[in-house]
Point group: C2
Chain length 433, copies 2
């Protein structure tokens, strides 16, 4: 690299920093305005954006063609192309998603508790938006609409940074959101899209853009989330991985266990709530193990087991230490025999990722021990881990699932994108000495 190139790079970075700082300031100003916006205005913006997507479907479609052609030319794998590609039905689904978010209750201004003090002071705790949310995502362009809409609904401004490979698609979808904001009289800077492919932009977002970003939400693979969690200087709502367990207790009902295990693993293998490890109670293994393995094989699942599991079926491959720590996101499951509910708890606390874990048993006492002792964002009894989802929880859309312990945990819906303040109403009260 020539000295002139280095100088140019630095100039580029400085210009980028200036540009993003200006964008952050605009987002901060928009956030102040958006925090006071009425539910009607926000919902009308969402509905207009949905209408714009439907009316101008050709714009995102032709933009998407540019991105998809470039990705093909770059030799990207089919799974990447699939995530990147949008179609008329996908755009219709995105538009419907915006309308569903519009139909949710507005969390801002909600009084979550209120009480009166003996001196007559009336104290209430009221939801307010968090401020400015930064979203860093990869090749799914629908995140542009989904995340933008969730932030808008919860009164937050948002700075979107999608993958450089879908920049054209994202820009076309973003134009529809901007049109919605403008039609509703809301500041267009409330939903901003970073339009540079320069990777330095991500680092600047992780630094918080000089105080402009309050929280970062990464949406993408483990590498992205890992980088964001280790480098971000602002809070992060995320989960690194979903190493979810199903524990089949000796008190289980076999039919339920079979249905839950197969569904938890195989309904969709690529979602974070998919089970990765099956734990079977030693005391129930003689009754449950073979039928559970059969059902999994039948569903097309590869099984890796400890020596006891391998003894039960010679199609089982050997599991090693790494298998207990692996999020396969594929039709593979690790199976282990454990010593009762305490053995299951010990395994899950050691190898799990505190995302979602489920016990299958008809014994309520054992279930309660599991539910109390497992320290995960979501713990379940007699249900499939694939219910780990904001929609299935009845929260409406979610921006992701968080496994951190602070502020947001589990599905992050519009409520978790708010904080609160206390409002104290008095009639001249002063505090005694």
């Amino acid at each position: 690299m020539m000295l002139a190139d280095i100088a140019d790079t630095r100039l580029d970075e400085r210009l980028l920093k200036i540009e993003l700082t200006a964008l952050g300031l605009a987002a901060r100003t928009a956030a102040t305005e958006l925090a006071l916006a009425s539910a009607e205005a926000k919902n009308s913006a969402l509905k207009s954006a949905a209408a714009a997507l439907r009316e101008k479907t050709s714009a995102p479609l032709s933009a998407n063609k540019i991105d998809v052609d470039a990705a093909r030319a770059a030799g990207r794998p089919a799974s990447f192309i699939d995530r990147l590609t949008i179609s008329e039905p996908r755009i219709e689904a995105t538009a419907r998603g915006l309308e569903e978010i519009a139909a949710l209750a507005d969390p801002v201004g909600e009084v979550t508790s209120a009480w009166q003090r003996p001196n007559g002071l009336q104290i209430s705790r009221v939801r307010v938006p968090l401020g400015v949310i930064g979203i860093i995502y990869e090749s799914r362009p629908n995140v542009t609409a989904d995340a933008g809409a969730l932030c808008l609904k919860s009164g937050n401004a948002v700075i979107l940074r999608g993958g450089s490979e879908c920049l054209h698609t994202n820009a076309a979808i973003h134009a529809c959101l901007a049109e919605g904001l403008a039609k509703a009289g809301l500041p267009e800077a409330a939903i901003q899209l970073i339009r540079t492919a320069d990777r330095a932009a991500v680092g600047m977002m992780l630094d918080g853009l000089g105080g402009a970003i309050d929280v970062i939400v990464p949406r993408g693979g483990k590498n992205l989330v890992e980088r964001v969690q280790s480098e971000a200087r602002v809070p992060v709502f995320a989960h690194l991985e979903g190493i979810c367990h199903v524990y089949v207790d000796k008190g289980a009902d076999l039919a339920k266990a079979r249905a839950i295990v197969v569904n938890a693993k195989m309904r969709r293998t690529g979602v974070c709530g998919a089970a990765e490890t099956l734990l079977v109670d030693e005391a129930g293994a003689s009754r449950f193990l073979t039928p559970l393995l059969e059902a999994l094989f039948e569903a097309g699942c590869e099984i890796r087991g400890d020596e006891h599991v391998r003894e039960a079926d010679d199609r089982v491959k050997p599991a090693n230490e790494m298998d207990w720590r692996t999020e396969y996101l594929d039709a593979i499951i690790a199976v282990r025999i454990v010593d009762g509910v305490q053995g299951a708890i010990d395994h899950i606390e050691r190898y799990g990722s505190h995302h979602t874990d489920s016990i299958v048993t008809e014994d309520r006492e054992t279930a309660e021990i599991f539910l109390k002792r497992i320290d995960s964002a979501i713990v379940m009894h007699n249900a499939s881990t694939q219910f780990a989802d904001g929609g299935e929880f009845g929260m409406g859309a979610e921006i992701g699932i968080a496994t951190g312990r602070f502020h947001a945990r589990g599905p992050v819906g519009v409520e978790q994108l708010t904080t609160f303040k206390y409002i104290v109403r008095g009639d001249g009260q002063i505090r005694p000495s």
Copy 2:
């Protein structure tokens, strides 16, 4: 410094790191146990600790004498000696404080919301402890008992790091807490005291002790909080300063305004909820300004004002830009004339610290504008800012007041020292494709 000294220092630091890492691991193990402890066990530990403090008052008193003598010999100022000194009444107050925390409702296990899904899944959101809390504090030894007790009550393990000048006193108080834990059959490692004066220990805590600390709460002056906020690699619950405002609107009742302004500023000038700036509505200044200034002068307060305020009374000193940004923590107030409620909002959002701000007016509409638009942890109408306190809010004791937007905001009582998990109870539900 000789090379040998450097080597020694490094060895010291390495040993300290090993020691603190072990302490952190012990705290983490204790936290797991404490999360499952019954309310009875935790309350019994608190009551036994209170009893130990009362029975063995002489131990903390003689330990305190060592610390106070050393501080005197080091020429520490009187205010420092006063904060450091404990006495029989102060110990009795500390013991009563422990009993009051024992009497609070146990937040752990509380179901904060519960609902049923159309498919029969029963979802509940249940409070669980945060984990391990690190407290870094200065010369008030009562924090040892108060903070230790609040963390214990909320099911968290705690690592205490008090000022090196009160190490003996803190150790004596800590011994009573440890006795309480032992008597209740709870792990003594649940409340740990770092017993080294080595300042490197603070840096290691701010790093999170290798993942052992979940959140840091600094208790002390602005320098301490500033260091913690800028260096901590884990979440921090704190406020840097309390630049609290009282705005007297043209619609105010003079008698209420006078009482609130004097109380907000002068009841105690050293607390974070003390008012530092008085804003008077231009349209009400002719009626309110002189009586408010009179009342403040009468109470012994120094007044620094803008030119309009100085015209009203020649005892008023000139205020400059820095006065609007200063937390005096003293009998000094800055006074400014503003253009109505929007002028007050603009001033507070520009200069305030988002702690506590109050409007005085009989005009409810104006009050609601202020309550909605001021983005502070606590906003008040017709009440003294000195009510910014967990006890006054009815939360019982607090570990401090937070101005951050994440997780904890306003008074941080036992509830804010918890997080939550979702418990999902089913009867074999699987998720449809």
